[in-house]
Symmetry: C2
Subunit: 204 residues, 2 copies
């Protein structure tokens, strides 16, 4: 676009192009899968030459990493901000769950990259775990521990296991939403999941 003036601008334009490549990659990966996506598909989608991709990323894999890192970073920092003012552990978990489903529910392509491409290789999963997933699970675990101290949650349960259960349930909602032909809102599922997570399915 309108390029003028000096140094400042060439930097700006470079960042924009990096952004454009990432956006194009999310779209292409979501539609064809990481392994079947060609770098030339991404370049085409971003409307740049194949070689230009390599001015901004070392390799195809680095693009995928950038997607994970950037999203997890913003996801975790936003999440922490959202819950820091909340007192009760159960309300914290509610906000985390809503945020989880709102975020992924707002961008189907991004959700596909997270739910599908990311899980398709143990290597990616381990890297993703290092990239922030472990920290995310840990925030849930700590909140459950807090709830136990607050006397809101049962003290006989293992918080590590509970955090996996809650995450697994939310995760499955997202996966089902992606695979479903029918368009429906993902976020409202948070309430249903938490109702079961808090109170169980057994008749009181």
């Amino acid at each position: 676009m309108a390029a003028s003036r000096t140094a400042d601008v060439s930097a700006r334009s470079g960042t924009d192009k990096r952004e454009a490549i990432i956006r194009a990659a999310i779209r292409v990966f979501a539609r064809k899968g990481y392994f079947s996506s060609k770098v030339s598909d991404i370049a085409g989608q971003a409307k740049i030459a194949d070689g230009t991709v390599y001015l901004y990323f070392k390799s195809k894999e680095e693009i995928l990493h950038s997607i994970f890192n950037r999203m997890m970073e913003s996801f975790i920092s936003d999440g922490k901000k959202e819950i820091e003012g909340i007192e009760r552990a159960d309300e914290k978990l509610r906000r985390i769950s809503e945020l989880h489903l709102e975020r992924l529910g707002a961008d189907r392509d991004l959700a596909i990259v997270f739910q599908v491409q990311l899980r398709g290789s143990i290597k990616f999963m381990r890297e993703f775990s290092a990239a922030g997933f472990a920290e995310y699970l840990d925030i849930i675990r700590k909140t459950i521990s807090e709830g136990q101290k607050q006397g809101i949650f049962r003290k006989d349960l293992n918080p590590v296991v509970c955090s996996k259960i809650l995450f697994g349930a939310l995760d499955e909602m997202v996966t089902n939403w992606i695979l479903s032909k029918k368009k429906f809102e993902l976020a409202p599922a948070a309430g249903e999941v938490l109702d079961v997570f808090f109170n169980g399915v057994a008749r009181a």
Copy 2:
């Protein structure tokens, strides 16, 4: 192995080789991932020539399909048999959950193929859904409905959502088990998951 005698046997021997290829493929896919696995790796692992693979399977992808189909078929038919004598819905869910974790916990390579390779492509997931996953989820759903009729489970919950929650929680246990460096038994997690699923984490 020991191949001898007539018509009966050449069929048998062919079946054995097919088996051997499938076992080799599970091992190779689990270690390198579907897309990075070479057909020659599978042939090598099965101790046969590359070309021989194509006498038993139309393509590399068909091998993956065979793995899913065969496992889901036996998994579902065994599952149905296991629960048909059980009366109470909660006991049925317990048996299903135990079976789920026992099966995958008994064969790490198979578990990796199911948890990782299978999830790595929307195409595979859809095919897998058709292959029996949908039926599996439906068995859980029906059992929850039964439990509601039996007055064991809350009637205000949507059984479809509940079935996803239970499945998602179990699934996450398996995924964590695969990624964990520490060797631990997977099956006992069924009890912990069900405790939360039935009773919730909230203090009564």
